[in-house]
Point group: C2
Chain length 558, copies 2
Amino acid sequence: MKVLSDIEIAQNKKLLHIKEIAAKLGIEEDALEMYGKYKAKLPLTLIDEDKIKKNNLILVTAMTPTPAGEGKTTVSIGLTEGLNKIGKQAIVVLREPSLGPVFGIKGGAAGGGYSQVVPMEDINLHFTGDFNAVEKANNLLAALIDNNLQSSCCNLNIDSRTILWKRVIDMNDRSLRKITIGLGGVANGIPREDGFNITPASEVMAILCMATDFEDLKNRLGNILIGFTFDKKPVFARDLKAENAMAILLKDAIQPNLVQTLEENPAIIHGGPFANIAQGTNTIIATKMGLSLSNYVVTEAGFGADLGAEKFLNIKCAAANLNPKAVVLVATIRALRHHGGAKTEEINTPNLHHVKAGFCNLEKHIENIRKFNIEPVVAINTFVNDSYEEINFVINHCKSLGVQAVVSENWAKGGEGTKDLAHAVVKVVELNKSHFEPLYKWDMPIKEKIEIIAKEIYGADGVDFDKQAKLNLKRIDRLGFNDFAICMAKTQKSFSDNEFLIGRPKNFVVTVREIEIAAGAKFIIPILGQMMRMPGLPGVPASEEMKIDKNGVISGLS
Amino acid sequence: MKVLSDIEIAQNKKLLHIKEIAAKLGIEEDALEMYGKYKAKLPLTLIDEDKIKKNNLILVTAMTPTPAGEGKTTVSIGLTEGLNKIGKQAIVVLREPSLGPVFGIKGGAAGGGYSQVVPMEDINLHFTGDFNAVEKANNLLAALIDNNLQSSCCNLNIDSRTILWKRVIDMNDRSLRKITIGLGGVANGIPREDGFNITPASEVMAILCMATDFEDLKNRLGNILIGFTFDKKPVFARDLKAENAMAILLKDAIQPNLVQTLEENPAIIHGGPFANIAQGTNTIIATKMGLSLSNYVVTEAGFGADLGAEKFLNIKCAAANLNPKAVVLVATIRALRHHGGAKTEEINTPNLHHVKAGFCNLEKHIENIRKFNIEPVVAINTFVNDSYEEINFVINHCKSLGVQAVVSENWAKGGEGTKDLAHAVVKVVELNKSHFEPLYKWDMPIKEKIEIIAKEIYGADGVDFDKQAKLNLKRIDRLGFNDFAICMAKTQKSFSDNEFLIGRPKNFVVTVREIEIAAGAKFIIPILGQMMRMPGLPGVPASEEMKIDKNGVISGLS
């Protein structure tokens, strides 16, 4: 049997009109802002705080991933299908893909196999324009900053060497990482060093995803710290009177997008901040929208649980007063082999010894989730080369920890392959096993919050602060930003800040190199190691393999 | 009585659902791709070549404009309302606005007063994402070029000093005009000089507007000349296998957008190429769509008739085999005063002497339109400070030339103020007075085509070619591009290439400084003087005055 590509599976599906999907949620056609027949924006008036409190939020996160990722998105979609199959009303709430990976190495982010959200082409391309709106709002602020440097009439005395705000473009384009701008004489601005980030790394994206309503969005945009004057005073976006125009550019982007899964269940896809230097999860508004419309809301957060779940719980849930009822930890036998010492070329070969040795990684994630007073369920996202012995070892070992581990065949079978997982999740929810508590209070001192995360979640012995980081802490204190949340920027490949320490590293300290401020998003970003904000294209970009015929049918998009 | 702002007038209008507008054109709801309730994309299958031949295309152009513009867009919209009022089925087909002017000085481009297309906020902001799609397609090609410079596996040996392709951003951002990219070491690309243009200046925009169908679009994208190898061979986008991925990004953007006028008549808004270095008019597909759906199609082209109409007729109509039945020449008393020698501070003061002296400018435009075997109608777009004597002089003088000049009160009265103009246009059409012929054949030599335009349209005695232009001509010949159309890049402020020569200059030659190639658009661009491709923001940007309240109601957008 020919194995179909993701896009072939998606194209073979006859989609329901989006008004029919909306009808399943009790939404009238007139309330929708349709974008073609299969996408719609949902008005914020549908958000209902009472229902948010009553309905059940499920986070899908993962063990420490291999570079290919362990399948959080497909498990999230598959689990939603499975929940609906066993009679629960469930919706999946996901991030929007960036165009960079679509044309680069990684591909899109609409799931895969028989667990996809559709129309996958649209979702992976411009979708409803949200990324573009973020990009334009970000770049308007950048243009206003450089215009102010040039301006004689309303000059804010900004020291161009201190400017923190970069332009963004939703493209893998390494040549824009470090540039000089404003060259060519007096008409062309003030020369200075600069650079572009990829759009999901914009603080505007982080803000859109933290905003609770339109006023909050506007206020946060005004609060963006863009740099300092020559006399060292902070300059904010509001000093450039930028926040209204930026909010105008985001007036549609703030509304969540409704699409469907391959099994015709509703899906909300909204926002897409980077998981390294930002929170890596969809908008608060989208999650609240899901909870206003459906009994079960399945959502995910980027990278492993030490990053994605930690930020989801301590930042997003704490800020929005969300109360997750269960956490699904995605594990793969492949990743367990990796953490048990399998070399790259051995990673797809059954090896019980490696799996046993790698289990410590999953075990630490299980312990971590329980520190939030939430009960985890382990989803084993299976591949064809997983052995019975390996899978059984994981199930039994989880059982010994009191955790249910369930095989999830979401990729090959969709909802039919995730019914067991769905039952396990429902059990945790219905037995009321979780009573979520964040790990820290936002009003603790910055250093203390960072240390709690490092010790409790990463298992570090302590935290070293580099000279630059110490200076940054002083600046944060001077600016009065001590009560911001902590958005850790660390490698996703290890619990530690050293990507080569696999498994469950012990006896290590992490080093905070510097600390950035996202004053609009209201978080502090401790940087542990080098963070990529502008990827490059590979030697043979994915774009070369893409085709579109005269009827508009696309192939080679993944 | 309080004079309402454009946005207040637009917001006071209760819009019809776009499906009702479509129904007026006989389009079923199911054929529409809706973008909210008031915008829709139209499928290309609605294009009907038989109807295109039978229906009537009217071009609205203008005398040589003052910096404020003489109101082609408002006259186009108003005329469409007027035609419908006198019982003709008419649609207006316009360009899409760029975000740059919206936040800069000029404001949006959705008409004004009581001649507007709505929803004006959406049209002036992201609209249906077409500009973003053009930007992404343009910038994907740019990223692929720099990636190829960096690549070891498929290196095309491109000489980075010869790269013609620039990135674009839809923002007035002077600091990006001249930049250096690829700095910071081996991981960050090859350092080189570069710059950003504003999105409407992208050749991708020109191509989108010249394409007749999706295959044509893809072929044209592949034909883009991006630079040369070290051994001086041309490199095209197809050498980077870029055209399919670029076309994929444009799959929705190729469909024209349907909106409505304040008087609930249909309007198509699609594409927006610069009027200086590109053709400055909407897409061929949109114009053909209009002609497939309506008896009368009113459209416009940027700047005065020496640029807009000349390019519209010689490039667009010739390429698409369109047959315009009448040309409306917009004149203002203000512009006539200007061309008659009124100083800037005198321009709004009645002065018959100035108007008489400036009439020569309008007269030359009238003569020019007749060179295409098309009968012009003059629309006098009136302002409150125009005197009866001035207006009467223009009407009578036009009459002496055999041309009907009609007062158009489109701004203050909408269709009610343009009924006379509509009658005048219908008369020209129904008496079958026009038998369009382009001014040159595309297969003539490049130099000859340029000379025909300069002599016949500008009234020049001849054309000087600078050394660089002569080298460019040799390159064009070597590349085999002699049969491309000519897309003149000249100041809009004068018939000549010297913006200070107002009125009807005589005894001058124009100088072609250099000649660019738009191989995908299939035109050659002779550059006469300096052309702006990236505007800057003013000292007080328009964005500062914009407000949006918590209900999403915008003010200060114009």
